[in-house]
């Protein structure tokens, strides 16, 4: 029996440690822990509610746009203007969020995930004439291999030609994700931490030149998504087809929905969106979503048991650093008392089984091309594929949205800040379901609660002792080589974890993993 400790887990956002107990080549126990606490929810208290939109973006520099969107929807609802945002404002917000998703998903596949499958070192013997590949070859000849080594060794399977092409695309993708952020800044001002999305709408009035500039940047990205990104994901999935089974996970998927198509419906759950909210399990039956069924449990988290099971609108943070058996400072969000995975896979599958026409045709054709059943989506490669399919759906939809903008017309509405109010903002962030909840008293923030996608996915065991989604995906996995645990890092990265978002606190007892003392 051996213990694998991976700390830090790299090529994710934030500070994550994974410990796995391996016996007879199989993961018997697993524990994931976030390693940083900043306390942003505490910092928010007592401030002007409007500042929440700027501050919560700083939760995460990789997905700030999702936080700015969730915070703004939250504030719109608390200010009573969520059905009054001008269409220009609603559409520009969608375009900003969409640009972020495109850039983020490209970054994830090429720069966070690909190095688990692609062998850069093999370019030492490259004999072709691609300038980018030759410059990497000279780099290797200089003898300075960071950041590509050290790495895990022994399972890089791509044929030379595919491998070389993937590395060339790794380089091109740097430019493409950058272009995505540039496109975002047309309306968002700058990235990271866009300035365009604000309560009441967006900061600027659309102009024809902005719209045109945005459109042509988008077209360049569409070409890359269709001709490079999607084919690369399919090619990697084909060679590493065992990863269409590895990392199955809990089998329950939850999506909040995203991209507002209806600015006049105040109820977020009824509002028309490109991706609709809902849940689905491995039986592939669509179930409607009810935000009142979200709770946070804390049996294995360092919080007082008295706050367990609360809805986030009344969420509390009561640390209990001496709590026996606890092993994480992440709470365990649960839906209807059960474990749910969130993310692009959830959005794609929920909308696939709901018969969303934007989704069904594309998913069917991708599955047919690879000769797969929908059940194969519940896997490492399924998550990566869902992310790529979502990127295409968003990019293609954005073309229509740009043309719906009315140049020169308002994109912002003024409002008063109420003395007392509650708000909720739900959005499908790049990494999955993201929720912000606010309580305003005397015109200031009295309580602000955030449940991020990675809190869902990386959560510890809940009050019923059921492990969190990522823990379930790792449990039972066969590890070929304990010194090079590719399987674990590939599963972890398929969730695209974002730890700065998730983690509340770590104490010295964070190292004391209770029953988990097997070495």
């Amino acid at each position: 029996m051996g213990k694998i400790v991976i700390d830090p887990v790299s090529r994710i956002e934030g500070h994550l440690k994974v410990e796995a107990v391996v016996d007879d080549g199989e993961v018997k126990e697993v524990n994931s822990a976030g390693m940083l606490f900043r306390g942003l929810e505490l910092i928010l208290r007592g401030r002007d509610p409007r500042d929440a939109q700027r501050i919560t973006q700083r939760v995460c520099g990789v997905c700030p746009t999702s936080h700015s969107t969730a915070a703004t929807l939250n504030l719109d609802s608390a200010f009573g203007i969520d059905d009054k945002i001008p269409d220009n404002g609603r559409i520009i917000r969608n375009l900003i969020l969409g640009a972020a998703h495109i850039a983020d998903h490209i970054l994830h596949f090429y720069h966070l995930v690909a190095l688990d499958y692609v062998d850069v070192a093999r370019l030492a013997t490259y004999g072709g004439n691609n300038p980018a590949l030759n410059s990497i070859k000279s780099f290797i000849e200089r003898g300075e291999l960071g950041p590509f080594v050290p790495r895990y060794e022994g399972d890089y399977r791509l044929p030379d030609e595919v491998n070389e092409q993937a590395i060339a695309h790794y380089v091109t993708a740097f430019d493409m994700r950058r272009r995505g952020q540039e496109m975002l800044s047309v309306f968002g001002g700058k990235m990271p931490h866009n300035m365009g999305i604000i309560p009441g709408g967006v900061a600027s009035v659309p102009t024809v030149d902005n719209m045109t500039s945005f459109l042509w940047r988008l077209k360049e990205l569409q070409e890359f998504i269709d001709n490079v990104y999607l084919p690369d994901v399919m090619a990697v999935a084909g060679v590493y087809s065992d990863y269409l089974e590895i990392g199955h996970g809990c089998g329950n998927l939850l999506a909040y929905g995203s991209y507002e198509l209806d600015g006049k419906e105040a109820d977020l759950t009824k509002r028309g969106r490109i991706f609709n909210a809902g849940t689905v399990a491995t039986d592939l039956k669509f179930v409607e979503f009810d935000p009142n069924k979200i709770t946070e449990e804390v049996k294995y988290s360092w919080y007082a048991n008295s706050i367990s099971g609360k809805h986030p609108s009344h969420g509390e943070v009561v640390p209990d650093e001496d709590k026996q058996g606890a092993y994480s400072w992440l709470k365990s969000p649960r839906y209807n008392g059960m474990v749910y995975e969130v993310g692009p896979l959830a959005r794609i599958m929920v909308n696939y089984v709901a018969g969303n026409p934007k989704v069904t045709g594309l998913v069917d054709s991708a599955l047919a091309q690879a000769n797969l059943n929908p059940s194969a989506m519940f896997s490492v490669m399924g998550r990566n594929l869902a992310r790529a399919l979502e990127t295409k759906i968003v990019a293609d939809s954005m073309v229509d949205w740009i043309l719906q903008l009315k140049p020169g017309e308002p994109a912002y509405i003024s409002y008063e800040i109420p003395d007392e109010s509650m708000g909720m903002g739900l959005v499908g962030a790049a990494r999955g379901a993201l929720g912000h909840w606010i309580e305003i008293k005397e015109g200031k923030i009295a309580n602000y609660q955030i449940i991020t996608p990675s809190t869902w996915n990386i959560s510890p065991k809940d009050d019923k002792d059921t492990p969190g989604p990522m823990e379930q995906a790792i449990l039972g996995t066969k590890i070929k080589d304990e010194a090079n645990p590719f399987e674990i890092v590939r599963i972890v990265r398929s969730f695209d974890p974002c730890l700065a978002c998730s983690v509340h606190l770590l104490t010295p007892k964070g190292r004391d993993l209770g029953e988990f003392k097997v070495c």
Partner: protein, 308 residues
Amino acid sequence: MFKLPKIKAPWYNRKVSDMGDSGAKEYPVIWLQTASCTGCSVSLLNVINPSIKNLLVDEVVPGHHINLRFHPTVMAGAGEPAIEFMVDTSQKKKGGYILVVEGAVPTAKNGIHGVVGEKDGKPMTMLSWVESLATDAMAVIALGSCAAFGGIPAAYPNPTACRSVGEVLQAKGIKTPLVNIPGCPPHPDWFVGTVASIMLTGLPSPEDIDELGRPKAFFGQTIHENCQRRAYYDENKFAKKFGDPGCNYELGCRGPITHADCPVRLWNDKTNWCVGCGATCIGCTEPGFFDIAPLYEKLSASALPEEV
């Protein structure tokens, strides 16, 4: 609420050539993420000329290369081998590597709120990494407002007692040269320009740096001095709500008290910048920018410098 950190910087008169390794062509870089959001790293990925690929595998200026030995978001490696590689670099390249710190440093309870990896089987706090890696570095770059001034995690009530890198170094008497490159995030040009300048001409001289440790080349003027809406201010035309023409001063703009060259440098391949998209400057290159006042409140007249 807000207290300006005082930074004294007697070390800025040191040149690379004085440091016994004037022939350095390969600059090992250890990039540590502490209490941060990774936004500074993502911003660096947006660099144009040179491109991020040029930075990682080619050269920064002719004959001068960065060797990125440790970067949590970019590096292939993870876990123990990655930590060993980082420690090995700091030992074998003593006095010859650049330490980049992205994020503030949690110091409450000896830094237990932030842990990265293990050393000799014991968890290592970000605080201890910063102290040990800074001691033997050629120079430390505090990248972003969290590293430079404490930033967001140090905002009131600063739950984890986050400190700037400068404060941590000062508390330990570590004399390694330090350059502050604030911004939330910092513009990638500010980082690349600073690194290229170190490679070509050595560490900044005292006259190159302002009293907050920032290179004057990028932070020498205020936003207000170069703002595209400056003429409105001079004519007393003020926007009353977002989307209006006019100066955004009454909407809370911090341009008059914020030092950075955003209005002329522009962001994201010169596509736009904060005021360019109709928003205000939120003062992100200044210490304590979230604690000066609510962001959408007009700055009080007493906060304005005399020359505005």
